[in-house]
């Protein structure tokens, strides 16, 4: 208890010591914000929060997999086409979230010929689809189609996250058909989360290693897949308080600005579109890669063949997010010195895992960085 100057005892100060007028003012501001927010909510229509709106055409499909070609937005630079490959956790639409935050649009505006593969919505019936099927099967088919359609022998690959692992494996298995490869936020050494050991970073690596191989087998036997909703909850655990405050404090903050609010909703739309990861492919992802770290050890096998990183002979641009808590930079940067080419470039961009693609500054740097790098290797 504090003493007053005259030695008497004063009333203790409370940590939150607002006067009634201050309290009324704060409550009033909150009330106004909520009323404005309610109005904003009511005014939003579906078309206001559309994502992945860049025009494209379906050019090939097989089973649940679809290949799209984007319509050009600028004069072609005559470079080999670029195939965007996202992973099975989340969807490629992150690369085209909204008109002013779209890697796809940025690349098209820079004159690239762009394709994207959509893995569709795998269900329980796809339990036995493996990474072999995705890389050696569907991805190889997409590349073959593009080569036929464009009368070329090589494509440029642009892999994102798990999709980057797919393209890495493909480039190692079929080096003759890859002109250049861009990896973004892609894990190569799944145990390199321990290099920096930053608080809150690399939790998925740690969490998967805390499970046994049998736990994962049982999970897949029971579910038939790695449910998207389940993976979403694991991602939420990585930012625990953000998850708790997202739909109250953060939303309240966004409600003050229509643009900010619509961005918030578009991001929510992308997050909620989380397909299930086919079971057998998930086992390979979690056990072979996250647990046993086979990719960086050159012991990972697809289609009965060893994925040898040294077999990658095309130029590689490796883009990582400097503050990526899902794929810590060291897990991506581990590729340096492990491939069979000296044409290896790293590009570290400000922001987190998703911020690289949608953050105001980073996504512009990403688009121009990729286009310039590819143009130099056309």
């Amino acid at each position: 208890m504090a003493e007053t100057a005259n030695g008497g005892r004063s009333k203790p100060m409370a940590p939150l010591d607002l006067s009634p007028a201050e309290m009324i003012a704060e409550a009033g501001a909150l009330g106004r914000r909520m009323a404005e927010g309610a109005q904003l909510f009511a005014s939003v229509r579906d078309e206001d929060v559309q994502i992945a709106t860049t025009p494209k055409d379906l050019v090939w499909s097989q089973d649940k997999v679809s290949l799209y070609r984007y319509r050009p937005l600028a004069e072609s630079r005559g470079l080999p086409p670029v195939l965007i490959v996202y992973g099975l956790i989340g969807r490629y639409t992150m690369a085209d979230l909204q008109e002013d935050r779209s890697l796809v649009r940025n690349l098209l505006n820079l004159g690239l010929d762009l394709y994207v593969v959509d893995w569709g919505n795998p269900g329980r019936a796809d339990r036995f689809v493996t990474m072999d099927d995705y890389v050696d099967g569907y991805l190889a088919e997409c590349v073959a189609f593009i080569n036929d359609a464009t009368n070329r022998e090589k494509v440029n690959l642009l892999g994102i996250c798990e999709g980057g692992v797919f393209t890495t494996c493909y480039a190692a298995l079929y080096p003759e058909s890859v002109n250049a490869m861009v990896l973004t936020i892609t894990p190569i050494d799944f145990h390199a989360d321990t290099v920096e050991n930053r608080a809150g970073h690399g939790f998925i690596n740690l969490w998967v290693r805390s499970l046994s191989g049998e736990d994962i087998d049982q999970l897949i036997a029971a579910q038939g897949s790695l449910p998207g909703e389940f993976m979403g909850s694991v991602f939420s655990m990585m930012t625990p308080m953000r998850t708790m405050t997202k739909y109250n404090l953060d939303l309240l903050e966004a409600l003050g600005d229509r643009t900010k609010f619509l961005n918030f909703l578009r991001m929510e739309k992308w997050i909620s579109d989380r397909p299930d990861h086919p079971g057998e492919a998930a086992k390979q992802w979690l056990k072979d890669l996250y647990q046993d770290n086979k990719l960086v050890k050159n012991t990972f096998e697809l289609g009965g063949r060893q994925v040898d990183l040294k077999a990658i002979t095309c130029p590689v641009l490796n883009v990582f997010a400097q503050d990526d808590h899902i794929i810590p930079p060291a897990t991506s940067q581990a590729l340096r010195g492990k491939i069979g080419t000296g044409d290896y470039t790293e590009l570290g961009l400000p922001g987190g895992h998703v911020g690289v693609f949608v953050g105001g500054k980073a996504q512009k740097l990403l688009g121009s960085g990729i286009a310039d790098w590819i143009a130099a290797r056309g």
Binding site: L16, L18, R127, G200, S233, P240, T245, L249
Partner: protein
Amino acid sequence: MDQFDAFKAMGEFWTRTGLGFLTPPGMGDDAAGWSAFPPATDLTGFAEAHASLTRAWAAASALSQTLTASVQGAGPATDPTAAAVLARIFDPQAWLGGTTDFGAALNRMTEGPQLADLWQTEKRFAALFSAFAALRRAQGAHQAVMLDAWTRAAGSFAREANARAGRGESYASGRDMMQHWVETANGVLIEVQRSEAFLASQRAVLKAATELRLAQQDVAGFMADLYGQPTRAELDDVHRSLTELRREVRALKKERRSAARRAKAEATREASHG
């Protein structure tokens, strides 16, 4: 299903089927087949876990109330809305059920069809009940870890808030104070999530949830078979065959494409040689 409903349902089930289940008519302990049944649920462990959680919960609730009252200052709260908001912020409940979607996602994964009318399939039902109790036990142990984390975060926040007050400083607004709580709690949670205790208890929950799901599927498969419906295992067989067939078709197409390319290259070469 929330915890209350789960316990209520379990109680009802136990009342209806428990006696008959434990002492089946005409079957003593030595009766043929009884020893092959899965062991009865470890109710001692369940009760201990529950008692431990209850004690931790009581302590956390008391701390939550004290915290809410203390940040409002001594004496009655002047603003009932603010008091309610503070109570919500410091409610440890959010750390148990609503901290993340993880628990809810697991619950949705395990709460499949209600199979209460299938209790006559004793062996399967006993396994199902055991798996259910094991999941609750694992969830209780995990909740105890989360409560401990909450208590640490709340204690840390209270110490800092009181120290500020002692220095004659107070938060400029409720939002500022909330921000401080969010940062404090985030730091503690991230640290706890990397701890052995958290990872082990969460792994146990995942394992138990998976085993419950498999036990449910076993019962469902048994009944499906009984009524001539396709079972999960049969469907999986079909899906496996379909995937393998697709793989073969893809390989054949690839081979045909390569052959066509080779033939084209050969024709070009022959044409160029006249």
